[in-house]
Amino acid sequence: MIVGRNWRLAANALIWLVLLTAPLWLNAVGGYTQLGTLVLVMALAATALNFLLGYTGVLSFGHAAYFGLGAYGAGLTIKYLVPDTLLGMLVGVAAAVVAAAIVGRLIVHLRGIYFAMVTIAFGQIFYFIAFRWNNVTGGDDGLSNWSRMPINLGIDKLDILDSPTTFYYFVLFFFALSLAVMAWTLRSPFGRTLVAIRENERRARFLGVPVDAHIWLSWMISCTFAGLAGALYALLNNFADPHVLHWEQSGEFVIMAVLGGMRSFWGPLVGAAIFVLLQEYVSSMTENWMSFIGLFFVVIVLFFPNGVLGIVSRA
């Protein structure tokens, strides 16, 4: 696990270089800018989940709910209230935070498989609200007829609507900010305590750590960034549909984190990139893509439980 400091700096620099230059070469390698943006959005959600899963050791299988609340919060605000992108994002994140605070209060004392089950089930409430409240959310057809708005910076306008590249950098800005906050939190004494809880909850409790409060806070941080990712996702598509709230989406976030490597900070980014590209490729090749994705899950669990970066760091 111990990688030299220089290596780590080099790896970080390389990752940021790739992310910063992606719009320049994505088209040349057969991709397109929106696909890069989608990778960033999914990577943000998976990293947010991994804050809880990989660093606190708490298994949430219901993160799609907070992702979806972010998406619907942003979309509904822009469509019905004020056509302002940043305000929409703010409302989206706030919706996710409020829901997470309430649900978190109910489940924070649960552990392991029980926690997973309850998070999945709670996620369904929001799914059915989006699905059933037709005249507001658009029901099964989704929330359409709205779009992200250019951002007025005072001197200049940031045209995120018509330029996919500008929007990519807009998302990258929030991605970088979020990851910096999460990385910084994990380095703080609070973050170290989370890892201690993951490693041995009973010992942490004996040391006087208020474990439930720590898990609740970790859950809140995780859901906040999941909500932000959801808001960005809705902005990317100018659309939100109930599927973003569905438990299948939650499962996809978990597999992204596991696929990349739960124990490394960059793992979810790697996992999200692989998953998004694979899904894009497979669903364009065959209509049996669900079987392939399912098979993919099985293969990862049986043969690569430590993920891509887990293999790299062991080698």
């Binding site: 899963l53 004392h109 997973a116 089950m117 059933r132 049996n288 669900m290 079987s291 899950f297 669990v301």
Partner: protein, 289 residues
Amino acid sequence: MTQLVLYNVFNGLIIGAFYALMALGLSLILNLSGVINFAHGGFLAIGAYLAYTLMPYLGFWGALAVAPVLTAALGVLVERLLIRRVYGRDPLYSLLLTFGLAFILQDGARIIWGPETQPFAVPGWLSNSLSSEFFFLTGYRLFMVALATVTVIALFAVLRWSRLGMRIRAGVRDLETVSALGVNVGRLRSLNFALGIYLAGLAGVLAAGMLGLQPTIGNDLIMPSFVAIIIGGLGSLPGTLVGGLLIGVASGVTTVFFPSASEAVIYALMALVLLVRPRGLFGEEGRLQ
């Protein structure tokens, strides 16, 4: 109005019976092996489609008898080849594995039998309404309730009195000791898994007769089954049964007054139970927490 309420309560009871059959199977597997079987809904679909395929040869009754057994056999195969490998590992992996299997089973059903809804004919004398006033009391619906009741009684009898049932109950308490006493735990888990999948297959055949056949037939039943287990309390099979019936009826009653909340209400009920009694109605303190 009374008729409408009765109709929806009865409907809720039937749906609740499906939830209970599903949830009892899930609960059996969860209690003994610590695995949440996401693929349960997929097995339900396979059971329904197998019955559909067998019906021209065996008739409705033959298909009803044979399809769940074949589904259970498929379940044992999957358990031996795949699920067995994640026992004892972080629950994360069993969740992801069965999640993948759920995709494969559902998509497999779509590839083999097609995405369209297929009709599933039940014997004519079962589908007639028994009363002109209570039009919803068809023979098939009463039959479903009766069969589900018999099945649940049989299940509890097996667990209570048979050697297998005793071993399962002992294994839920302390698998290590059971193993030390010379019971083949691997086989016990397989049989237990088969029992759970049998219930899913049976629920599938019954559901197909009511709803028609679709590859996604199990999807709407799996989440409420989780809720049934949580409300009833982890580790308690009677709790699971009560939980399933309760949310079925709650959903049915809500349909009368506020139809668009008929799905959400069961999750609200779960939130209430978790708030007032975190271990569930019949759950043991501290189990799996």
